[in-house]
Structures are given as C-alpha cells and as structure tokens.
C-alpha cells in the first residue's frame, strides 16, 4: 500500500514508533499493598511507600511479574530470566520518591512481533523492541485553585507495562491498527483492561518524516494520547507540521509534545523543555528479578486463545469469511458475544446479525458490546426463530427492536405479541384470494408487467402483518397468477 504523503517538494514517508503504557490488571500496586481500583476518593489508595515517606521500601508484586511474562508471550517475545529494576531520577510533584522504579538496560521482555490487520484486508508485522515493568506516577489537578496544583497519589505505584514498538509503522491507520491489536491481545490475556478513557492504556507516539529512502528524520514524541481516534488525528497533524517546517527550509526540533483534542493540534510541552538526565542506576532496595524456564512454561500453559488463532478457528470451524472473522475477533468482547450467541444457532446468520443490525444499533446508541442491552443468548434464540421458520425475517426486526427496548427474550416477545409466522397455506390462500378479488385491475395488468407480482407479495404481507411465510406466499401467488408451479 502506498502511504506516501504529498508535499510541495515531493512525496514524504511517515515513520512511526509507539510506546504504550498499559496498566497491569492486579489487585494491588507493583511495590506496595495498596489498591489499584479506579475512581476511589483521592489519596485513599496510598500507602507510606507510595507516598515516598522516609524509610519506606518496595517489595514486588508476584502477579505483576506473571502478567508481564504473559503479555510478553502474547507478543511472541523473548522472556528474559534475569532483569533489573532501575531508578529513573527526576523531580516532579506527582513523583513522590523523586525517582520512578522502572527497567532500563535489562527489561523483563525483549524482542517480539505482532501482526496488525488493516481495513483493506492486508496485514503487516510490527516489531516489538521490549516490554518492561514500571511504576505509574500520581496525578496533578490544575483546575482546583488559581495558584496551586492539587496532587493525588492514588495512581502512584500502580504497575505499568511499557511496550515499545520498532519504528515500523508508516501511516496513521497502521498506528491505530497497532494500538488496537495490542490492546486486544492484552484484553484476551487479561493483563490490561485496555480502557483508554480511564487511562489504563496510553500511547506515546514518535513521529518523524523523511523522503523515501532517506535516513530517519528527527522525531517528536507526542505524549499520553488516550484514544484511537486521537492517535490518528495527532499523527496527521504532526506529520503535516513537520513537513511544513522542512519544506520551509527549517529543521524539526526533537521535542516532547502534547496533543490537544479540542484543537486537533500538537504543542510543545513546557515542563519537558529542560534537558533531562535521568541518572538510571539499579535500585539498591531490590534484587535482580530472576525466574526459571519452567516458571515461564507454566505460565505459557495458562495462555488463552489469542485473536489470530481465534480468527483462524472461526474460519475453519464456523465457515465464516476471513473478513467477518477479523471483525469479530478484533474486540475480544465481540468474539465472546458471538460464541455465546451461536451455542445453539447458526454461526453465519449470527455473524451477519452482529455485524449488521447489532453494530448499527450499538453505534447509534453509542454503546459498546459489553453494555449491549440484548443478551448474546437471546440474539442466538432470535436467529433460531428465523432459522426454524417460527418468525419471518421482517418480524425478526420488530422482535429485535422490542428486545432492545425491553430486554425481554425473543420467545416470550413472539408469544405475547402473536408474531409467529403463518405457515398454514389455506389461511394464506384465503387472504390471497381476497386480494385478487378486490384488485382486478392489477390482475389484468400482470400479463404486461410480470413484476407486479411483487405488489401482491407486499399486499399479502401487509394483510398478515408480515407474518406470512414468504416462501408459501410466493408459491401460491405464482400458482394462482402466473400459472407456474
């Protein structure tokens, strides 16, 4: 695919690398026993350790280590049996210790690779450089007071995985697909909930531009972008900004920038202007993190089916198209919903309904599939009702609407609203006879315009409230009016 951007001086190539900060799913923090749950009252989930009080010491959370290994395995990456925790030293109000415990030269996970799926059906491999464990910082609130920032340390010390990609992406779409895929893999693994709104997953995006074939250009890092949409917007803006600078004859300055979603622009970060020297060194309060190959193997045994494997299975087991399977597995919740729905019904029909009706309704309601008002089991049941000719496809749409509004199950809806399909041919025949009798003009015109048969079908459905078995209706009409069959 040609991703080149047209500039005044010719085509430009975009080079993107992404650092994702993913909050690990764990009950307690990386080095302390305080809670990680979201949305608690400020400074309540803070221990003396998280507040950097004198004499406090870190002790590592075993589950966070396992989660990092699990994620590394999910990224097809090398797991390092020996890794080191370093201190990254800098002063900031939300960094109580004056350093962040992170991993610098020897991370827990090394090189890996994931495959991203693009909208045009193509796929591409994106390299993973490393994954390491580190502490999150606290949060400063700036709108509480004219001259003070308010510091809340609830997040301070929460376990993060920083996942660093190779600079392998060449377009905003690829960058978005990469973050989506990464998020999806972690959701499958249950190592990160992927919730970008709550900040469980943030992306730092490194963007540079170059003429095709040239060496890498100077990059700018856009910090803490927190939605897939913004990732796209930020890259588009930043690429254009850099191209403009170079085409005007200036040089791009290496910078840390922030994306402003309201303006759709990136801007230089004031607080990061000062040049940094983080003075990394191994944290003397901790020891090297070591584990055996067997330990990794035990974790490997617990890995769930990952999206790529699941897609393959959907194609082979359920006969779905590659395109449809891809849509289903690209969100774990959708794939889970699908598999729940097809327990007793036709996979292809269910897939069509999810991708068609369900998605369009959810879109309109601005809801995700986790909050879908229709239970997967009920959607399966609805499709069964169509499949075994209990209701017509047209009625099914009405039932679907009622399910959305009431949350009731389709069988009781069909029962109580008398929506069952009419299969009785004599009953239908009587209705058709009446229509023929009342519309002699249309009957006469039929010989000229055979397409008018559709009008009779419509009338019949109208008379039966859409409940007539369409096959039967067609058969009878054909026999009576076209002397066929």
């Amino acid at each position: 695919m040609n991703n080149l951007i047209e500039g005044k001086t010719g085509d430009w190539e975009l080079v993107i690398g992404i650092e994702v900060h993913a909050q690990i799913i764990s009950n307690s923090k990386l080095f302390s026993g305080s809670s990680t749950s979201f949305g608690s009252d400020h400074n309540t989930q803070v221990s003396f350790i998280d507040a950097g009080m004198p004499g406090m010491l870190p002790v590592i959370n075993s589950v966070c280590v396992e989660q990092a290994i699990k994620t590394g395995l999910g990224l097809n990456a090398k797991i390092n049996n020996f890794s080191i925790f370093d201190r990254k030293n800098y002063f900031y109000p939300d960094l109580p210790q004056g350093y962040q415990i992170s991993q610098f030269e020897q991370p827990i996970v090394g090189n890996g690779m994931i495959t991203i799926d693009l909208d045009n059906g193509e796929s591409k491999n994106i390299g993973i450089e490393r994954l390491h464990l580190e502490q999150d910082a606290g949060k400063s609130l700036h709108d509480q007071h004219p001259s003070y920032s308010f510091v809340d340390l609830n997040r301070s010390g929460v376990a993060l995985m920083e996942i660093v990609s190779m600079p392998d992406m060449r377009s905003p779409e690829e960058a978005q697909a990469y973050v989506k895929k990464l998020r999806n893999i972690m959701k499958y693994l249950q190592t990160c909930d992927g919730n970008m709104e709550e900040g469980s997953l943030r992306a730092d995006i490194n963007v540079s531009v170059r003429k095709p074939g040239d060496d890498l250009g100077t990059r700018c890092e856009i910090k803490n972008v927190n939605s897939i949409k913004f990732i796209g917007q930020a890259i588009v803006y930043e690429a254009k900004r850099q191209i403009d600078i170079i085409e005007k004859g200036s040089l791009v300055e290496q910078q840390t920038r922030l994306f402003d979603p309201k303006k759709g622009q990136t801007r230089s970060m004031r607080s990061k202007e000062e040049s940094h020297d983080y003075r990394y060194f191994p944290d003397p309060d901790l020891l090297p993190l070591t584990f055996t190959d067997d330990f990794v193997k035990e974790i490997e045994k617990t890995l769930p089916e990952l999206p790529d494997v699941r897609r393959k299975r959907f194609i082979e087991e359920y006969g779905l198209s590659s395109y449809d399977s891809n849509i289903l597995v690209s969100e774990k919740e959708t794939a889970d919903y699908f598999e729940e729905a097809i327990k007793n019904s036709n996979p292809k029909l269910v897939c069509n309904w999810i991708i068609g009706e369900l998605f369009s309704v959810l879109n309109k309601m601005n809801k995700s599939i986790e909050n879908c008002p229709i239970r997967a089991k009920d959607l399966g049941e609805l499709i069964n009702l169509i499949d075994n000719e209990t209701i017509t496809g047209r009625i099914a749409k009405d039932v679907f609407e009622i399910m959305l509004d009431t949350g009731n199950d389709p069988i009781s809806i069909v029962e109580s609203n008398n929506m069952k399909q009419v299969n009785n041919s004599s009953e239908i025949e009587a209705i058709i006879d009446k229509i023929i009798e009342n519309n002699p003009d249309q009957v006469n015109a039929l010989s000229e315009k055979p397409n008018l048969i559709g009008w009779f079908v419509g009338q019949t459905m109208k008379e039966t409230g859409g409940k007539a078995n369409p096959k039967t209706v067609n058969e009878i009409l054909n026999k009576k009016l076209l002397n066929k069959g």
Partner: protein, 492 residues
C-alpha cells in the same frame, strides 16, 4: 548496691527479673542521668513520658512473668529510625518537624520485647559524617577527655549520640546504623562495643535511608554480652524489606564465652598503613597475642583490593544517597520553602533544608550517575566492589575471623577535621570494606592510647556468623579488661 545507671544491660535484666528494683526505678535514674548530661548534646528528643509509661507497663509484665527479652530496659535510639508519634529528624533541618505515623521494624521489635525508649539520639545529618559534627542539632561531645581536658573531642560518627550516650551510661544500650563504619568507628572512639550485623540481618524498613545497599542497623553497648542480647531482639525476617534475610536468628548470647580454640584468625597485610601510629600497631599485636593465647591460630592473609574500598565507597554511597534524598522536596513532609514556581520551591527547600556535607554528597552522587560519567564511576565502582567482596570470600575459606584495628586513630578534637572532607573520609578506612562486602563486624574496646583515649579492635566475620564474632570479641574484652570513664565531668 551499684547505682542503677552503672549497671550494664544484662545486670539490669537480672535485677529486674529478681525484683531487686523496678523498671520504673531503673528508668527514672536514667532519665535523671539523661537530663543532667545535656551538655553532651547526645539526645535530640528526650521522651521521659513515654519512658515512664512503658516502664510502668513493663513492671506489670514482670510481675505477671509475661516479660519480653528486654522487658523494662531503657535504651536510646539513633534519630535515623522512624518512631511513631515521636519526632524523627535524621539530625537534619529538612526533617526538623517530621513526626512519622509509623514505627521502624527494628524499633518495633524492641518495643514488643519490652524495651523502653529514653529518647532519640543525635547523629551526623542523614548519617553522613564520621564525627557527628554535621548534625543540624550541633555536635555531640565525647564523654572521654584526653590529657588536655580543655579540648572537647568528637564521639565519632555518624552514630555519635548513640556511642556517647552508652559511654556516659545514659541508657543500657543504643541503636545505631552503619553505612561505612558509623557504628564501629564511634564505638572505637568512646570505648563501647558496636556491631554492624550482616547486611540483611536487620530490617531496613522505617530506617531513614542513606545508602540502601550499605545501610545496616546495629547495637552499641557497654560490653559484648549486652550487645548480643540487644541484637537478638533487633533481628527479624521482615516481609516488608526485600533485602531482609530469612535465615534463622540464633540466640547470639550463647556464643558469648564460647571457646575459640582451633579457630583461625586472619591478619590482612593491606591494613598496615604507612604512617599509622605505633600505638595502633601495638594494640593490634596485643589482640593477636590474646587470641593466640586463647587457642586460635593466627594466619597472615591478603585482601589485595583494600586500598580501593574507600574511593569505591565514596562513589556508591553518595550515588545511592543522591537518589534516596530526592524525596525531600517540601511537598509531603519536612521543611518547605514557599514559592510560586515549583522548581524554585524545590531548590529553596533543599538548599535550606540540607547541610553542607549532605549537599556535597548529593552533588558527588549526582555527578557519578550523570550521563557520560556513569560507566567511569558508578559502574566501575560496583565492579571494584565485586572484587573486594571476592577478596573476602576467598580469605574466609581459610580463616574464621579477620582482626584489624577499628580506626586509624583515637578520637580527635572538635572542628579538627571538619574542613577537609578527605581526611575526614579516611577515618573509615578500616570499616568501609566490610559494608561493601555486606559482612558482619564488631569494634571492641581494647586499650587506651597514651592520651588516655579508647582504641578499638575490629573483628570481621563470614556472612551471618555474628556468633563467631561474639565469641572472639568476648576473649578480647576479657583480656583487655578495659576501664571505663572515671571522671563524669559533664554532669550538671
């Protein structure tokens, strides 16, 4: 009967168990002594109310025979240990208003064994110093005087308040911390017994950090037996400290008096320093003879990298300190200077809150970790440290303990060395290698120099073999028959 403040810890323990006196009587006498000894400036915070209350509780427990191992015993605690509800300053302006809402593991262990807190003891600011002169609360005065009694002497450092208070019989023992010699050097300067346990023996949780890979808490007492008793109660396996050992904690007291027959003592040739005084050489020789006469074998050994220990230490310790002290930023606790700009606030707070020596070490530490210098200094020092550790592991295949002087001199005068950092750093030349290698070591008073001042000998042991050290230390103690201070000139 002896005055209660003249008893040592094990004598007081016996007296309490025999109901010869109550803990309250014992504690009140010590409080009197503490108050009449203020000219030594050993205490930053006196806690008489807490002491009396705990003593009363202890007396009840003693009556009911529910006593802990240190029931009713008054001790002092270096101001590096966080004590819940009691001002804890690290002898710094930076923490001059800090009242911890938590208790360090080591002090917590002592209280649960019934020990009584007399007060918080002065030290060099953030334990950085060898003379107790860097304290924001002023220097501690050594209760010992040389032949010229007009000269005030330093008690050593950084645990200067601990050593001085024990030498002056204010408390039956004291807690110190030792990062490069901060227990052993002051013990040597004050004629007291000071042990730095194996790294990992005592929990570091709740002790204000100076250099995390070197810091270790330990006891200072008036004799070896007291030391072993106090150590036992300090130790625990602490799940809150990654570097706290889960090794079994022996009853160290059992080792006091144990024979050393057939055991081997190493004498490292590298500890013979050019220009070292004859007195130090003589006392070292005496020590050898005492141990030999008690059945030990003396072996000459070599620790070839000894000369690099001090420079190695003066890279690693400041590096760790520069990072450990970053949390003092005026936001969550401690001294704080107001400003409308966060960076100005940090700078003003830290420039005002820290004293010169602390700033100097933060600067060195920041420098050796900074980009472009890390490999040449910090990484290099950690490699040299591996060599030093290796020297000791090799030697300990052949010997059971190593005997050296504790310090290159006896106590010096106040302000004598405070302007020259390196000559001050050289005080720790015999003690620093032990911290780098994480080993246990003790300083035992062995003699008085010609000026009448105490000199100590140091015994270094294998990791977690404090018992062996105590057995040897007891022999030296018995042979030296060291006489404590006679003229309590400082009493008001």
């Amino acid at each position: 009967m002896k005055k209660l403040t003249e008893l040592c810890l094990y004598e007081a323990r016996e007296g309490l168990l025999n109901k010869d006196f109550t803990s309250k009587e014992l504690v009140l006498d010590h409080i009197d002594k503490m108050e009449s000894s203020r000219s030594l400036n050993a205490f930053i915070t006196e806690t008489p109310e807490i002491a009396i209350k705990s003593a009363e509780k202890s007396d009840l427990k003693l009556i009911k025979e529910e006593n802990g191992e240190l029931e009713g015993i008054p001790i002092g605690v270096k101001d590096m240990f966080c004590t819940k509800g009691v001002l804890t300053t690290a002898s710094s302006k930076m923490l001059s208003n800090f009242i911890p809402p938590y208790e360090s593991t080591v002090t917590g262990n002592l209280w649960s064994e019934g020990a009584v807190l007399l007060g918080k003891l002065n030290n060099d600011e953030f334990a950085m110093g060898s003379s107790n002169e860097t304290s924001f609360y002023g220097p501690v005065i050594n209760p010992w005087k040389g032949s010229n009694d007009k000269i005030d002497l330093v008690p050593g450092g950084s645990s200067g308040g601990s050593s001085a208070s024990v030498a002056a019989n204010i408390g039956l023992g004291a807690l110190g911390t030792d990062t490069g010699g901060s227990i052993r050097q002051p013990a040597s300067f004050t004629g007291t017994v000071g042990l730095k346990p194996t790294y990992g023996r005592c929990s570091r949780w709740g002790i204000i950090a100076f250099a995390s890979s070197l810091d270790q808490a330990g006891p200072i007492t008036r004799n070896v037996r007291d030391n072993s008793i106090l150590l036992k109660s300090m130790c625990s396996h602490d799940t809150k400290d990654t570097t706290s050992s889960s090794k079994e904690i022996p009853n160290f007291e059992n080792a006091v008096g144990r024979s050393i027959k057939g055991l081997k003592v190493g004498i490292p040739s590298e500890f013979f320093l050019k220009g070292m005084s004859n007195e130090i050489m003589e006392i070292w020789d005496k020590g050898k003879d005492w141990l030999k006469n008690s059945g030990a074998e003396i072996i000459d050994i070599s620790l070839p990298n000894t000369k690099y220990a001090l420079p190695c230490y003066y890279i690693i310790a400041p590096a760790e300190a520069s990072s450990n002290l970053a949390r003092y930023d005026g936001v969550r606790f401690g001294h704080s200077v107001k400003s409308s700009d966060i960076n100005e606030m940090y700078k003003a707070t830290r420039s005002e809150g820290f004293g010169d020596e602390v700033k100097r070490r933060i600067m060195i530490g920041t420098y050796v970790l900074s980009s472009g210098y890390y490999d040449a200094y910090y990484l290099k020092a950690q490699k040299v440290r591996s060599l030093i550790t290796e020297d000791y592991s090799k030697v300990f295949k052949d010997v059971d303990v190593i005997l050296t002087p504790s310090t290159p001199s006896s106590a010096f005068g106040l302000n004598e060395k405070s302007d020259d950092p390196i000559s001050m750093y050289l005080n720790d030349i015999f003690t620093v290698p032990v911290n780098l290698a994480g080993l246990p070591a003790i300083s035992v008073p062995a003699a008085h120099d010609s000026n009448g001042l105490p000199l100590g000998l140091q015994l270094i042991g294998r990791p977690f073999e404090e018992e062996t050290i105590y057995s040897f230390a007891k022999i030296i103690e018995d042979c030296a028959n060291f006489k404590n201070i006679e003229n309590q000139w400082w009493l008001k």
